[in-house]
Subunit: 78 residues, 6 copies
């Protein structure tokens, strides 16, 4: 695995739910980046999954799981 | 990823479980939108997954995961 | 998405675990209904996934996730 | 869906973790039964997924999710 | 399903996180064993999924879900 | 399964969220290692899943599930 910053900003706390959602997307992408460090290869793959509904749905599931953790970490921004 | 509002309304709190469920569907769709910003491409894909039971079930799983977070954020509307 | 009642009865609270389980099945089905509003198409798909073990298992996973939320909402009917 | 008893015994509480695990298996099977009420068809499918590692793993995931709920309902038998 | 001991030792409590992880692997395997009691068939399948990255990843997901429950049962060994 | 150290360091507690994320990746990899102890075979598979978007997404889901447990174990580093 490549050395990448896995949590941009280094914290799970965010000001708003919207920012929490953005962080969830970043967490999901950083794992992809750590597993496949080649930027060209990732760009090639992004075209593949952006046009494949099954993969898009799977990306959505991953973000949903990451967001569950972030939301708990922020006490659901209550 | 395109700049889209990932949480319409900006909050996980809803008045009712029914609205929480609607929000779960929106959260799931906004991730698809952020990953695939082309509306025509999304429309094309929607036809694909609406007629494919495997994908429909996967959409359902994603919504279920999103809803778990929203329900916790609303203390299950008790 | 079609306008359907996503949570029949409008609440996650149920009298018994058995009813909670029935609600979990309904929640899962209502998402399918909202994504694919055509009843004939859904009937056609039901035949497909009732005879495909992979899909049946995936339906089971979705119900399990929905039920986890409902059980928490009912404090596990303790 | 057929009318079947979805939670044998009607409760999530069990005496032991082992019984909790058995209940998790039953919950998963009852959803399959409710979705595919034909016993012969289910028997045919069981042969299929018992010899297919991918399906066996998916069955295992479903049981794991059901068990998480049952374990929480029993305060982890502490 | 065959009669097998689904939770070796009969408890979710372990002395260490490492033992908790080992238990998670065992829980996942016991479900496979209960679903497919034929040892030769399981041995044959193990070869299949040990050489198939998709299945290996799915095994990993199952263990992760089992471990989440075990970790909660042990209050995360804090 | 081979005898490998499933949790490097033997604890779920980490100093930072970033380290928690690194631990989540390690936990996921150690399960793969325990299931497929042959290093050459794992290296061969790594090439396969690093170039296959579906597998990369599945790896990401597994890490997300492992991380949820680690984050809870660290009280979300609040």
């Amino acid at each position: 695995m490549a050395e990448v910053e896995l949590i941009p900003g280094g914290t799970l706390q965010t000001q708003t739910p919207e920012e929490g959602r953005q962080l969830a997307i970043k967490l999901a992408r950083m794992i992809i980046k750590a597993t496949q460090p080649d930027a060209d290869e990732r760009a090639r793959q992004r075209v593949t999954y952006a046009t494949d509904p099954t993969m898009l749905i799977a990306v959505g599931q991953t973000v949903a799981i990451e967001f569950a953790t972030i939301a708990a970490a922020n006490d659901y921004w209550k």
